[in-house]
């Protein structure tokens, strides 16, 4: 981690495997504007930033900026460098992400930035709603940051990201975590409650996957649960134990980024990968095994 921007010394964070990945709203209020620190807002609602944001924060939109516009994939190294330059972000900068929906999309952006190896990325615990609930300052003024010379870095798809074939080969060898709602897990529905149908032909889950809806990791106010609570949920109840490698998935890879952050940074699992193809891929592929109902299911014999 870069040493220029200090870590948040909030006591709660010290109990996590890497508590320096989190900062509090107080910390952000205190440090915003310091050179070398960039605050990035990433929301599901594309207009929320425009209604008012943390003063000085820049916006990164998952749909229009992090995705390739043609292929179902993220931007490539050149695209990412161009985006960072346009946002005025340098390779050495510390980035603090925050957003709506308990930081769900902020965690997604953080994960994509991590694919490009941007080193010092942190989340603001509690996200946008906590900042607003505390009646902290919001601004509609868009910051003008000087374009930077961000290097072109190849995206590393092998460390933090899992693809269909790897997931299929993992069955029975590595634990899988399904972070969708119980109804999606059982196959009753193929999309989130109260969300539109997004096109999966089959319902259910990947055999052997444990069901841990992503929101279990968050408190009412959107902050992360304590290290001890998280350990009880994932290590014990979901049975991850001391696994070396874990793969998380959801519907398109956004909710599972939130869980990825928890497992990788807060609980310190060595190798956690997000399967971003997730159910919209698995639920449409010909011939892959699917389990319905609330049981995890067995590894298929062939």
């Amino acid at each position: 981690m870069s040493t220029a921007i200090p870590a948040d010394t909030t006591a709660k964070f010290a109990d996590y495997a890497d508590g320096s990945r989190l900062v509090s709203t107080e910390w952000v209020a205190e440090h915003a504007g310091e050179p070398g620190l960039v605050i990035v807002e990433s929301d599901e609602d594309v207009l929320l930033y425009e209604t008012g944001h943390i003063p000085g924060a820049v916006k990164v939109d998952w749909h229009t900026e992090l995705n390739d516009t043609v292929t179902r994939d993220y931007v490539d190294g050149e695209g990412f460098a161009a985006l960072m330059s346009a946002k005025g972000i340098s390779r050495e900068d510390t980035i603090v992400f925050y957003g709506d929906k308990s930081n769900w999309w902020a965690a997604y952006a953080l994960w994509v930035f991590s694919l490009f190896g941007h080193e010092d990325v942190r989340l603001m615990d509690g996200g946008r709603s906590k900042w607003q609930a505390e009646e902290r300052e919001l601004s509609t003024e868009k910051p003008r940051r000087e374009p930077t010379e961000y290097p072109v870095i190849d995206r590393d798809d092998s460390t933090l990201r899992a693809f269909l074939l790897e997931v299929r080969d993992s069955l029975g060898k590595r634990p899988l975590i399904d972070v969708r709602s119980p109804e999606e897990y059982s196959g009753e529905r193929t999309h989130m409650p109260a969300y539109p149908e997004e096109g999966a032909l089959r319902g259910g889950h990947i055999p052997t996957a444990a069901s841990v809806p992503w929101a279990k990791a968050a408190n009412e106010d959107g902050t992360f649960k304590s290290a001890e609570e998280l350990k009880a949920i994932y290590t014990d109840e979901a049975g991850l134990g001391t696994a070396d490698e874990v793969i998380a998935y959801c519907r398109i890879g956004e909710r599972s980024s939130h869980t990825w952050f928890v497992l990788q940074h807060l609980l310190g699992y060595t190798s956690v990968r997000n399967y971003d193809g997730s159910w919209t891929e698995w639920g449409n592929v010909v011939g892959v095994p699917i389990v319905t109902g609330s049981e995890a299911g067995e590894v298929p014999s062939r």
Binding site: V46, L47, L48, S129, Y195, P196
Partner: protein, 164 residues
Amino acid sequence: MTADTDAAMADNSDLPESLVEIVEDFAETETGDRLQLLLEFASELPEVPQRYSDHPELLEPVPECQSPIFVVTEVENPEQGDAAIVKLHFSAPPEAPTTRGFAGILHEGLNGQTAEVVLSIPSDLPLRLSMTEIVSPLRLRGMSGMLSRIQRQTSERIGKITGQ
């Protein structure tokens, strides 16, 4: 991008003037400024009258939208059928500005129009707003969900069955 150019060039003669104006405003606005325009619609969305804020059960939810929104369609003098005047009310929270923006567009374009006009609005209206590059297709589908509910409620109010 072709989608938006097509939208600007498209024949909008099947839309009422109020919506043609909105469609053209979006098409003529630089891509980077379109969100600002949508935000204006979000801010201009009127509050629901108290008779509905006191009785939220009278409002119909729109599950196609990613954020909670409720819509209710009122028809003055329903016995006038197609010529009856339609009034629209929407309720959406401030933390869902995109959804509010869509509701604002429908309010501006359709409130006070006749039932005939409301029922004639083509279902591809959201795709004509030059927003396919800035807003995900799922969200645009949410706007279609609002429109189809407004049309179904209008049909019901004037006693016309449209097979929806």
